[in-house]
Amino acid sequence: MTCAELEPLLMPYELGASTPAERDACETHLAACPACLAAFLSLKRVREDAAAFDERPSPVVRDRLRARVAARSRRRPVLWAAAAAALIAAALALKVLLQPPPPAPPSSLIDSAPPSEDLL
């Protein structure tokens, strides 16, 4: 493959959009041809520069997020306690709901009651 033939394949190769055959052709040629390798590297650098993300959000954004993360470790025991209390309450409510009145036959509610985890 000549340098002129290779040239149009370089951009797809650099963006990872070559077919396997084109990729092989590029790699074989680039390994042997310093001129095309230089062209390829320049293309790569241009694309990287064009895509360089130098901007950062204001440090305030990070500080706010950090504070939220730190609050999670403090809040967690409370959350767990609340969740546990809610589970117990739900289990009690369920038990009451599912308790059949002793003399009566099972109601449709009981027959169709889903596994308790669905309600929790």
């Binding site: 963006l15 694309r47 950062r56 959000p57 993360v69 403090r74 967690r76």
Partner: protein, 175 residues
């Protein structure tokens, strides 16, 4: 010792580990913010979306990494927030202005042709339709095609065919 994965840092940050959050944040701060800024073209909106995306992944429902990586989720959340914002602001035209004005800053070691190429590429990226520009910036952020497919919510085949369109378009503008 191998550095912790994003997914490990994510789990620790969710449990309130600030040091883990710092690492995760440092890894993705520039790439995610750059991506959002390119899409919204407005710094304060970009900061809000960026902040909210981190809040969503850290405090929302726990992410599942069976199908997608942490970064794919993070970019997906941010990308959808950008799309909502662009829609609700009815400022879709802003999405076409993805590139800051090309700065003619030829350093001594830069050849003229290279800086010409750079500004032509920047210019052609700026002219890309929204879907292709999004793809370019996701790819430039270092995401794999599989991750991009998750972020955009389209099949891998669509990502690849869009990429060919992208390459075709950019190539046509380069010397």
């Amino acid at each position: 010792m191998t550095p912790p994965t994003d997914e490990q840092l994510y789990e620790r940050a969710r449990r309130g580990d600030v040091a883990a959050f710092d690492q995760l944040y440092a890894r993705w701060e520039r790439r995610l913010f750059g991506f959002v800024l390119r899409l919204l073209h407005d710094r304060s909106s970009a900061e809000e979306v960026f902040h909210d995306a981190f809040i969503e992944v850290l405090e929302g429902p726990r992410l599942s990494f069976a199908q997608a990586s942490f970064s794919a989720w993070l970019f997906r959340v941010a990308r959808n927030a950008c799309a909502n914002r662009l829609r609700s602001n009815a400022r879709k035209s802003a999405a076409l202005q993805l590139w800051p004005a090309a700065e003619p800053s030829p350093t001594p070691e830069q050849s003229l042709t290279e800086s010409e190429r750079a500004s032509r590429l920047a210019e052609s990226v700026r002219r890309l339709p929204h879907a292709l520009a999004e793809l370019f910036h996701l790819r430039a952020s270092g995401l794999s095609y599989e991750e991009i497919s998750t972020v955009l919510g389209v099949p891998l085949g669509t990502v690849k065919s869009r990429l060919h369109t992208l390459v075709h378009q950019l190539k046509g503008d380069l010397p």
